[in-house]
């Protein structure tokens, strides 16, 4: 699979020259492969055979069978060497993997082998999740959207929490919650820093959306919540205070780049997520007030964008959001019998306008106009 590599058309002569040059590399690679398969056939599980697999995996880290053989070797060596030596072998592998990962950050097999090594270290009580935490931060510096990197980060964080809650001597429930909360607050701050660096990092927004209810619930379990990271507690006092804080955050982003889809998707979550809306609905008119305020904000931004546009067109994402928010307001009115229909003429006009400025998705808008698709999608 080739991604992002410019096509080069080789002449017949250039092709011949490349093949000529490849010959020795191919011979070496095939020899190495054959050697390893025969070693495996003979059930050789030695440090020497390990070195052979290192060689080939450094050339081709996608050769999954070689990772498998490597793990088989470890499984055998483990029973025949002191535990310190085995821990050392695993540490060596983690170092080697780091080098390979920098070259091949999107190869599943490498990430998977790293996980395997860590669980081996867990079994002998030698794992250092803090170190892994630093490693993954470094890798996400190189590519802040790496899908594997973010998943690995969640995996490390999850294991840090497991470790914190399964100590030999059980700590008090409060103490445990404090540690777990601390870890999650660090993660929350990490998403803030990634977002501040680049608002369109949706991977960070995604993580933030999963952390918010978690942190809120962890605070609830504390005996003295206001004492733990008071600055963060200020935000997490209630779903309401979180919502206010987050809406303020995205407002900045919206004005910075109104075409950025990440911010809008996150805003839609804030305005429709039960975690927030259930709380708002407890107070008469509170949800409507938030919706009205956000509508006013987005309409204001849209006016600004319109005045900048040569044909005075609406801004696409402003308009999409205006439709959603008006729909949500209408839904509240329908609930309280102040209105009977969700799809008002006003909303229909907006959808008509969207067909003009976002023709790619015309088919969806027509479905919405005909009532075949909802304007306020729920999960």
């Amino acid at each position: 699979m080739q991604h992002g590599i410019k096509r080069v058309s080789l002449s017949a002569e250039a092709k011949r020259l490349k093949l000529e040059k490849d010959k020795s590399k191919i011979a070496h690679y095939k020899q190495l492969t054959e050697n390893i398969f025969s070693l495996r056939n003979l059930q050789t599980y030695t440090v020497e055979s390990l070195k052979e697999t290192t060689q080939i995996l450094q050339i081709n880290p996608e050769f999954y069978t070689m990772w498998n053989y490597r793990r088989e070797i470890f499984e055998h060596l483990k029973n025949n060497i002191p535990v310190e030596d085995y821990a050392q072998l695993m540490d060596n592998d983690l170092k080697m993997l780091m080098v390979i990962l920098k070259r091949f950050p999107k190869v599943y097999w490498i990430w998977n082998h790293r996980r395997w090594c860590l669980f081996e270290l867990v079994k002998i009580n030698r794992v250092d999740w803090q170190y892994e935490y630093a490693v993954v931060s470094k890798l996400l510096e190189l590519d802040s959207r790496n899908y594997h990197g973010w998943q690995y980060r969640r995996f490390v964080v999850q294991n840090m929490q497991i470790q914190a809650t399964t100590k030999a001597a059980p700590a008090s429930k409060n103490e445990e919650s404090l540690v777990v909360l601390g870890i999650n607050i660090e993660e929350f701050k990490y998403t803030t820093s990634k977002i501040n660096k680049n608002f369109s990092n949706f991977s960070a927004w995604h993580n933030r959306s999963t952390l918010i209810p978690k942190i809120y619930n962890l605070y609830l379990q504390l005996e003295a919540p206001s004492e733990k990271s008071p600055d963060v507690y200020d935000i997490f006092k209630s779903p309401r205070s979180i919502l206010t804080h987050e809406l303020e955050l995205i407002k900045t982003g919206m004005y910075m780049d109104s075409e950025d889809t990440s911010i809008w998707l996150y805003m839609w979550w804030l305005l429709t997520e039960k975690f927030f809306t259930d709380e708002l609905r407890k107070e008469d008119g509170a949800y409507l007030a938030v919706l009205e305020e956000q509508l006013a904000n987005v309409e204001e931004l849209n006016e600004l964008e319109k005045s900048d546009h040569i044909y005075h067109w609406d801004n696409c994402w402003c308009l999409k959001t205006i439709i959603l928010v008006k729909g949500l307001i209408q839904q509240e009115h329908v609930k309280t019998n102040k209105s009977s229909a969700l799809l008002t003429q006003d909303i229909k006009n907006h959808i008509q306008a969207l067909i003009e400025i976002d023709p790619l998705r015309k088919g969806k808008y027509l479905d919405q106009l005909e009532g075949k698709a909802s304007i306020i999608p729920i999960l």
Binding site: M1, G4, K6, D22, Y147, S209, R361, G363, K364, P377
Partner: protein, 329 residues
């Protein structure tokens, strides 16, 4: 630019030659790709069968012999290459190719069919998910390939599918789309595997309201190229012509994107000189993008290209998949 849009050609004969020639490339890179050979074979066979060129272009007996030579008798699955270990990905590709040739999988025989089914069932974990092999990598890709493989073997049972699907549903995010694991960011290829798993096991009804998901999928189409990306704020890539469009097709929402623009984008990614399709215009071609570009074109308008119709759930011709029984008797 001229007033009338230039009509772009589809280079069928060159693509056929490109696919057939795959096996005659003997560069260093070719040897480095042995671990993908079974998938490569599947991508090649699907490209050819969709273009109605399979019979003439590839000798069936050689294809079948190759697949059988990748059988891993230790585990009962298929590896990517002779002597390579069995993995769920290569096993699925092997079964898909064999099934394109023969719905009854006679070349496998009852014993091997049974062993393959056992190999796959043995990869299911207690939370319903599937690992790719015994070394523990878990991903919704493996649930899809497990459901698919078992359905090709007529081995689906609700004892297996119910927990698997429960796991799939736990991977749905606030944006309506799916990730590789619970809590993981939404990704178009993972959406395909999750929706595909639901569809194979007749569980699409679990998506009460698929508007949000359809919405997310339709937002993958970006300008100016008209191509589809895999996540918000990422570049378009031909392979998402398959992952996104097939998902929309399964949800009966293909019309939620501009198919003409997508078609133009795929055609633009062809190599008009040597055949094959790349991820983006003027980029290096490969068999993977060639397959998913052609599969995408089949979903857009198979009749126009004189292609076979493709099944969005299986990425195989519908004339093959319509014979599937899927469930264990």
């Amino acid at each position: 630019m001229s007033e009338t849009e230039e009509v772009k050609a589809f280079y069928k004969e060159k693509h056929i030659a490109f696919v057939v020639d795959q096996d005659s490339h003997r560069s260093f890179e070719y040897w480095l790709s042995e671990h993908l050979r079974m998938n490569g074979l599947y991508w090649g066979v699907v490209s050819l069968v969709i273009m109605n060129a399979l019979e003439d272009a590839l000798p069936q007996n050689e294809v079948i012999d190759y697949i059988l030579s990748c059988w891993d008798e230790k585990t009962g699955g298929f590896g990517a290459f002779p002597k390579h270990d069995a993995h769920i990905l290569s096993t699925t590709s092997a079964l898909q190719v064999l099934k394109i040739y023969d719905n009854e999988l006679q070349v496998l025989g009852e014993e091997k069919k049974e062993q393959t089914a056992q190999f796959i069932k043995g990869l299911q974990l207690s939370d319903g998910s599937f690992q790719g092999d015994r070394f523990g990598e878990v991903d919704t890709r493996f649930i899809y390939t497990a459901m698919l493989s078992l359905s090709l073997l007529d081995e689906l049972t609700i004892e297996i599918t119910d927990p698997a699907i429960k796991f799939v549903m736990a991977c749905q995010n606030f944006d309506g789309a799916f990730g590789m694991l619970p809590g993981a960011e939404s990704h178009a290829a993972q959406v395909f595997t999750c929706i595909g798993a639901l569809a194979v096991t007749d569980n699409l009804h679990l998506l009460d309201d698929d508007t949000k998901l359809g919405n997310w999928l339709s937002e993958r189409q970006v300008l100016p190229s008209g191509g589809l990306n895999g996540r918000p704020e990422k570049l378009p890539d031909v392979c998402y012509s398959w992952w996104v469009l097939s998902s929309l097709a399964i949800l009966k929402k293909k019309h939620w994107i501009d198919l003409q623009k997508l078609e133009d984008f795929i055609l633009e990614c062809q190599d008009s000189k040597d055949g094959g399709i790349g991820d983006r215009p003027d980029n290096q071609t490969d068999i993977y993008h060639t397959c998913f570009g052609i599969a995408g074109l089949s979903l857009i308008d198979f009749e126009k290209y004189n292609f076979k119709e493709i099944d969005p759930i299986y990425c195989m011709p519908t004339e093959v998949t319509k014979k599937f029984r899927k469930w264990k008797k």
